[in-house]
C-alpha cells in the first residue's frame, strides 16, 4: 500500500492475465453449451459465470486489496441475493409435493 493514497496499484501484466482468463472461460462456456450434459449444462454454465464474476470482482474491482468492510458489503449483496433466490425456489419447487388437502 502506498502512503499517499489508499489504492493498490495492480500491475498491467495481471490485468492482461485476468482478461485472457475471462476470454478463455467465455470460449469454454460456449463450447460446453453445445455438448449435451443433461441438467449439468446449466450448472457448468453458472459455474463458469461465477468464476468469471469472481475474477472481475477480485482484480478489476480491486476487492482483493480492499478493506474488510468492503468485503462485508460485497458479500452481503450476494448473500441477500442468495436468500431471495433460495427461498423463492424452495417455494416454487415444493408446491406440488404434498398435494391439496380435500381434493
Amino acid at each position: 500500500m502506498s502512503a499517499d493514497s489508499s489504492g493498490h496499484v495492480v500491475s498491467i501484466k495481471l490485468y492482461l492475465a485476468i482478461f485472457a482468463a475471462l476470454m478463455v472461460l467465455t470460449v469454454i462456456t460456449v463450447a460446453v453449451a453445445f455438448v449435451d450434459l443433461g441438467p449439468m449444462n446449466t450448472f457448468v454454465a453458472l459455474g463458469v459465470a461465477v468464476t468469471k464474476a469472481t475474477l472481475v470482482i477480485l482484480f478489476f474491482m480491486h476487492v482483493k486489496y480492499s478493506s474488510k468492510l468492503t468485503w462485508l458489503v460485497v458479500a452481503s449483496g450476494f448473500f441477500f441475493l442468495a436468500i431471495m433466490l433460495a427461498f423463492t425456489m424452495a417455494d416454487v419447487v415444493s408446491r406440488g409435493w404434498l398435494g391439496t388437502p380435500g381434493s
Binding site: 489508499s6 489504492g7 496499484v9 482478461f19 478493506s67 468492503t70
Partner: protein
Amino acid sequence: MSDHATTHAYAHQFDSAEHQHSASQLGMWVFIAQEILFFGGLFVAYAVYRYAYPTAFAQGSHHLDVTLGCFNTAVLIGSSLTMALAVHGAQLGQRWTQVIFLVLTIVLGSIFLGVKAIEYGHKFHEHLVPGPGFVFDGDANHAQIFFSLYFVMTGLHALHMVIGIAVLAVLVWQAWRGAYGPSYYSPVELTGLYWHFVDIVWIFLFPLLYLIGRH
C-alpha cells in the same frame, strides 16, 4: 468542491484524503450491493419461469444469435480491461493513458450497444417481441415469457451502459483537464466499479439467455 487539480483538500468529516477515498469506495459498493438485488429480482423471475417452462425457454433461446452474443461478450470484457487500465493510468497520474483508455471504453461500450440494437431489430422483424404480433413455432405462450425477460433484462442492462457511457464522457473531459492523479482519482475508480458491475451482469445474462438448450 474537488475541481482543483493540484490541491486536494478533503472534506472536514474525514481524517485524511485516504479516509475520504475509502469512504467513497465503500459508498459505491453499497450502491452496487443494491444493484445486485435490483437485477437479482429479474434473475429470480427468470429462475422461476425457466423451472416452470424449460422447453419454451430452450426454444426461445434458439432464436437468439450466439455469434453476436459471443462477440458482444468479448467486446464487453475488453471494455472492462480498458476501464481497468484507465484507472491504472489515473493512479499513476498518466493523463493521456487515462484519456485514451476512457475513450476506448466508450468506443467498446458503444459497439456493444450498436450490436444490441441490431439484435433487437432482428427480433422485431422475426415477430419475436411479446404482444399481439408475436409469432412463434412452438410453445408460443410461454416463449413470450422468455422474450419478455430477454428484453427487460438486456434492456435494463443496456440502460446501465448508456448511463455508464455518459459518466465516462464527463470523465474524459475531466481527465483531459488533468483533474485526476495519484492523490485524487476516486471518480475514475468508482466509475470503474460501476462499469465492471455492468460487465458482471452480462457475464450471467449471456449463458442464461443465449446458451440454453443448444446441444
